[in-house]
């Protein structure tokens, strides 16, 4: 098997706070094969942002990686010195962030920012500009040459996000991380951007880590999906397997609550009872137990490990 683009092994990250150690990620195992699109699904607070920050190694000063490895094309990112890591950012690993309104520098033109992204290349300015224009065309921005001279606040949210995608793909990275790129946009825009992303992925061949809580988008875009809950991976597998035959109680509930799946008109939308656990004081055993309606005795004592072949689940009652 070819070296995966990203291979996260047993990653644990915690934050040192005034009130104690906040264990944000625990024993994360995740693989992204080269050129494939992997989705991460989970509600707010599941640790997605920490995961991204850990991969690109821009964690907050009070964060600590207590164990694990993050292998990018076989090399452990955690072993790299800051200079080497910086060389990868925006080059081999790119990120598209969630909020298009604030992700771009407001006082510099689009052109300036797109040129700055290419700062490692020794080409003349004109060549860099041409490349930027070409990239803008590919993400579907009209009149790209003109847009280079404009400022972010002149563009709509959808346009800005396209620019962000253009910037991220311009350097032909091996891995693109997309952090809920369409959450802040309306549904039509979302569809357009997802479509573009699919096309671009086919053309560029990069691996994509796509984070979202829109299950429909994940189903459409991703080959495989990982379900995260409160800092752990609870289920992973092909999108088909996980969405059609969910094994973990949390995944089941998540799918039940998806508004797109509701077939009958109803006044009561299904919700998952309970709330996220306090990451400062984690109960022993399975982290989902307080909200699970299928738990057994073992669930309170022993933490379930991720088990399985292609379709993996961390649950004591799965398959029973």
């Amino acid at each position: 098997m070819a070296t995966p683009a990203l291979d996260i092994r047993n990653l644990s990250v915690s934050y040192q706070t005034d009130r104690g150690e906040l264990r944000a990620l625990r024993n994360i195992n995740l693989q992204i094969p080269a050129g494939r699109i992997i989705g991460i699904v989970g509600e707010s607070g599941c640790g997605k942002s920490t995961l991204i920050s850990a991969i690109i190694r821009l964690l907050a000063p009070n964060a600590r990686i207590s164990e694990g490895e993050i292998l990018f094309r076989g090399d452990d990112l955690l072993g790299l010195d800051p200079k080497a890591m910086r060389a990868l950012r925006g080059n081999e690993i790119s990120v598209v962030f969630q909020d298009p309104m604030t992700s771009l520098n407001p006082v510099l033109t689009i052109g300036r920012q797109m040129l700055d992204v290419q700062h490692r290349e020794k080409h003349p300015k004109a060549k860099k500009r041409a490349r930027a224009i070409k990239m803008l065309e590919r993400v579907g921005i009209p009149d790209p040459a003109e847009q280079l001279n404009r400022y972010p606040h002149h563009l709509s949210g959808g346009m800005r996000q396209r620019v962000a995608i253009a910037m991220a793909l311009m350097t032909d990275p091996g891995l693109l991380i997309a952090d809920e790129p369409t959450t802040a946009l309306d549904a039509t825009l979302e569809a357009q951007i997802i479509y573009r992303l699919q096309q671009l992925q086919r053309d560029f061949g990069c691996a994509i880590l796509f984070i979202s809580h829109h299950l429909g988008v994940i189903a459409e875009l991703c080959d495989e999906v990982v379900v995260m809950y409160a800092g752990e991976v609870v289920e992973s597998g092909t999108t088909r397997d996980v969405f059609l035959k969910p094994q973990h109680p949390y995944t089941r509930k998540l799918l039940d609550c998806d508004p797109a799946r509701i077939k009958q008109a109803t006044r009561k939308l299904p919700v998952i009872d309970g709330s996220l656990p306090d990451l400062l004081e984690l109960p022993g055993g399975c982290v989902f137990r307080p909200r699970c309606d299928r738990c057994i005795e073992t669930c309170a004592i022993e933490r379930p490990e991720l088990k399985g072949d292609r379709h993996r689940v961390a649950c004591h009652v799965a398959g029973l």
Binding site: R89, S94, N105, P106, V107, L108, H119, Y151, H153, M167
Partner: protein
């Protein structure tokens, strides 16, 4: 952008017009007649009448106002009754000295303050940061003339490091620079800390913003991020403050000029007030006010040039 400049300029002109009218009104609404004030209560009626006529004080108010505007438009600020020279000539002779002083003070304060603020933000709670913090809170409010007097006392009279009086021999750049140091420090000292603190606060805010995170995620060198991405936004409040600060500086410059016996508008105005030389008083105030309005206008324009968001709505978010 041009639209913005046009609009702002028109507004500035209007305000200036009002200000000047106010000055005119003040002079003519004050009790007592200027002629007696100038010549003394014992002056004979004929002398007073002659002065009145010379200064045009015997004509109806509206006519005087009209003449005032037209004269102003032509750049005519009247005649100095004592020396018979054109007021505009006198004023513009002294203006450069004041401008040089103010520019030196602002230049020094900015050159020191911005890097100081930047370092304070990057190295929070270091010794430098805390010293700057204390300095900046207090110093801006200490009256310029107090600082000037102390500087004069220690550095000039006591230790003789710098000259105590005048602007230096004309043509001799070094000598003039030496004469500029103490007054410029007196004017600018408070501002160094103030600017540093503004920049520090701004930087801390900006560095937390999402677009800086994006820049880091793209692997841009830290230096580029700090200087070109963050600082560029962080210095904006400074430019705004400086525009307003020029007004305070002009007032402060007056004191600096008097304490150090430097030529300049401040000194001119002071002497004119002491001698009740109304044309010169008026002329000086008109020119300085005009200059102040102009500097506020320029600072607004520079602001809009640096932060494109200000151009349309005048707000920055």
């Amino acid at each position: 952008m041009l639209q913005f400049i046009a609009r702002r300029s028109l507004l500035a002109l209007f305000i200036l017009l009002l200000a000047v009218t106010l000055l005119f009104a003040m002079i003519h609404m004050m009790p007592g007649d200027p002629a007696s004030a100038i010549l003394g209560p014992k002056a004979s009626p004929e002398l007073k009448a002659e002065l009145n006529q010379r200064m045009g004080l015997d004509q109806p108010l509206l006519t005087q106002l009209g003449r005032f505007y037209t004269d102003l438009a032509r750049g005519d600020l009247g005649i100095d009754v004592f020396t018979n020279r054109e007021v505009s000539e006198i004023v513009f002779e002294q203006l450069p000295y004041t401008l040089v002083l103010v520019l030196a003070a602002i230049g020094g304060a900015t050159l020191l303050g911005i890097p100081l603020g930047c370092f304070s933000a990057i190295r929070r709670n270091s010794l430098l940061d805390r010293v700057t913090a204390v300095m900046s809170v207090g110093f801006i409010a200490i009256p310029t003339f107090v600082i000037a007097l102390y500087l004069l006392l220690w550095l000039s009279v006591k230790w003789r490091w710098f000259p105590a009086m005048g602007a230096g021999a004309s043509g001799d750049f070094v000598d003039q620079a030496r004469h500029l140091v103490l007054p410029a420090i007196a004017l600018g000292l408070g501002w160094v800390g103030y600017i540093a603190r503004l920049v520090r606060a701004s930087m801390l805010e900006v560095m937390e913003e999402n677009h800086i995170r994006t820049a880091r995620a793209f692997g841009l060198p830290e230096r580029t991020i700090i200087v070109h991405y963050a600082l560029r936004i962080a210095v904006l409040p400074t430019v705004a403050i400086l525009g307003m600060g020029i007004g305070t500086m002009l007032s402060g410059a007056l004191f600096a000029e008097i304490v150090f016996s430097r030529p300049g508008i401040g000194k001119l105005l002071h002497e004119a007030v002491m001698t009740r030389n109304y044309p010169v008083v008026m002329g000086s105030v008109v020119v300085t006010t005009g200059f102040f309005v102009l500097s506020t206008l320029v600072s607004d324009i520079i602001n809009a040039a640096l932060d494109p968001r200000l151009r349309e709505t005048g707000r920055s978010s």
